[in-house]
Amino acid sequence: MQYSKKVLEAFKHPKNIGEIKNPDGLGKIGNPVCGDLMWIYIKVGKNKEGQEIIKDIKFKTFGCVAAIASSSMLTELAKGKTLKEAKKLSNKDIADALDKLPAPKMHCSNLAADGLKRAIEDYEKKKSLKTKQDKK
């Protein structure tokens, strides 16, 4: 598999590895075909305009070079973004930021973006539950 320099760099020195204790959102995603797994942890905060942002993000990945590199790239792209912007992050955005992934590996970066979406959904679900409970 021929990887771009950026993929290899992100693989060799991945950013934002690990877990967040008591995360606001956790997105677990796997690829049943190859067995890859990604867990994306997020902490949500607010910016000056009062919008919700990804304050902190970390990942754990069981997978190949592309899976690790794209997880790392996702966390870099998502950090500081508003939840609305972060939700829009796509497979293509991650691949572009990595100077492309080999064609058969595109599913790996797909995972990272979907993992983040799940983490945000997890956060939103918890939040709406909490609001409902507060109203009671």
């Binding site: 598999m1 290899l8 693989f11 060799k12 991945p14 590895i17 690990g18 677990k28 075909v33 190859c34 067995g35 890859d36 797994l37 990604m38 867990w39 990942f59 754990k60 990945t61 069981f62 997978g63 190949c64 070079v65 592309a66 899976a67 690790i68 058969p104 590996k105």
Partner: protein
């Protein structure tokens, strides 16, 4: 430090081999079919090389056919047996752990209307002789089972397989690319009719292989042309390659086998100390230079590239490392789950591998496994 532990993929050309390749490429470069002295010198060297390889198998020189690779030897053996004997039957038997050179050739023959039985193997990779015997039918024309497996090192009982095939009157082919010179084969004792060999696994050059074909066994022509190599595969003979192959055989020393075995066992023992590690392939009846383990909860492609950064060259059967994104068919056949095959690592030694390199690998691998496990969501320290 750098250590090359991927000798099952290919090996370094021995300096002595390089010398003869140079000699037969720059001084004695004649075409072995030419009448003049240049040609005669080349012919002479080619026939000496043929005799040398024949001697290693206790075969006759005219039973040695030079090919361009082990893969070509497999293609010649399997396709040309099938096509030549198709009036007798259309059934072929092979195993589920063959090298792609055999596996894909059998798949091709299935497309051409042949029927292929793929024998199961047990958890260590051994074929079941009873299953083989049962699988042989009236229309069976060929059995192709490898001598030693390229991924997990299993040494198949080709002596017994040969007996069964001979008793049933079926041609027996074995791919001995990984085992040649590591495990002796005497064709007077082992009843193999066709044997594939390759030079670059034993410190010879790439681009030269051999098919041993027992004298009375008839097969068709794979490559048509000027009638080289007994009319079975034409093309100007690769004299430098053949001479290099013979030289590589000359250089084999029994003591190297014992040395590799010792280092192999040291590697296996050291790696098995890493928690949640599986040994793939048998403990005994294993190729002297093969180590294959699976580390749970990590992925092999990432492992191989991280090891490469540390100077250790190895390979993996992980799905992520293959173009098809499918895990190794060998690891699946021995019962590994795809997720376990994910974390497989093959290390293969050569006679040039020394203890210092093995110690270095044993220092680096546990560290890298630990690092990758630390970022794996499946890993929980126990």
């Amino acid at each position: 430090m750098k250590t090359y532990l991927d000798n099952a993929a290919t090996t370094k050309v021995a300096p002595e081999v390089m010398e003869v390749i140079k000699e037969y490429s720059t001084e004695k470069y004649g075409n072995a079919s030419s009448l003049h002295s240049f040609g005669r010198k080349a012919r002479d060297a080619l026939e000496k090389a043929r005799a040398r390889i024949a001697k290693e198998l206790n075969a006759a020189p005219e039973e040695i056919i030079f090919t361009a690779s082990g893969t070509e030897a497999d293609n010649l053996a399997i396709k040309e047996t099938a096509f030549f004997h198709k009036d007798k039957g259309n059934h072929i038997i092979t195993s589920k752990i063959e090298h792609p050179a055999v596996k894909e050739t059998c798949r091709f023959l299935e497309e051409m209307g042949f029927e292929v039985t793929y024998l199961d193997v047990d958890k260590n990779g051994f074929v079941d002789l009873k299953q083989l015997e049962k699988a042989i039918k009236k229309n069976t024309i060929l059995v192709s089972i490898m001598h030693a497996n390229n991924e997990i090192g299993t040494i198949e009982p080709i002596d017994k397989i040969g007996e069964i095939c001979r008793k049933k009157g079926v041609i027996f082919h074995t791919d001995a690319v990984q085992s040649f010179t590591k495990i002796p084969i005497d064709v007077k004792k082992i009843k193999a009719d066709l044997i594939s060999l390759s030079a670059h696994k034993i410190h010879g050059p790439k681009g030269i292989g051999v098919l041993y074909k027992r004298k009375n066994v008839k097969i068709g022509t794979l490559i048509h042309g000027g009638g080289h190599e007994f009319g079975l595969r034409s093309g100007t003979e690769n004299v430098a390659g053949a001479v290099g192959f013979a030289k590589a055989v000359d250089l084999v020393d029994k003591e190297d086998i014992a040395k590799m075995k010792k280092l192999r066992d040291k590697l296996i023992d050291g790696l098995m100390k890493i928690p949640e590690t599986i040994l793939n392939g048998p403990k005994d009846k294993r190729l002297c230079n093969n180590v294959n383990v699976a580390f749970k909860y990590i992925e092999g492609e990432a492992l191989v590239l991280r090891l490469d950064d540390e100077g250790v060259a190895a390979s993996t059967g992980s799905a992520c490392s293959s173009k098809s994104l499918l895990p190794s068919h060998v690891l699946i056949a021995i019962g590994l789950k795809p997720r376990e095959a994910h974390g497989s690592l093959r290390l293969s030694l050569s006679k040039y591998t020394n203890e210092e390199e093995v110690d270095y690998a044993l220092k680096v691998i546990p560290k890298v496994v630990e690092e990758l496990r630390s970022i794996s969501p499946l890993w929980r320290k126990k």
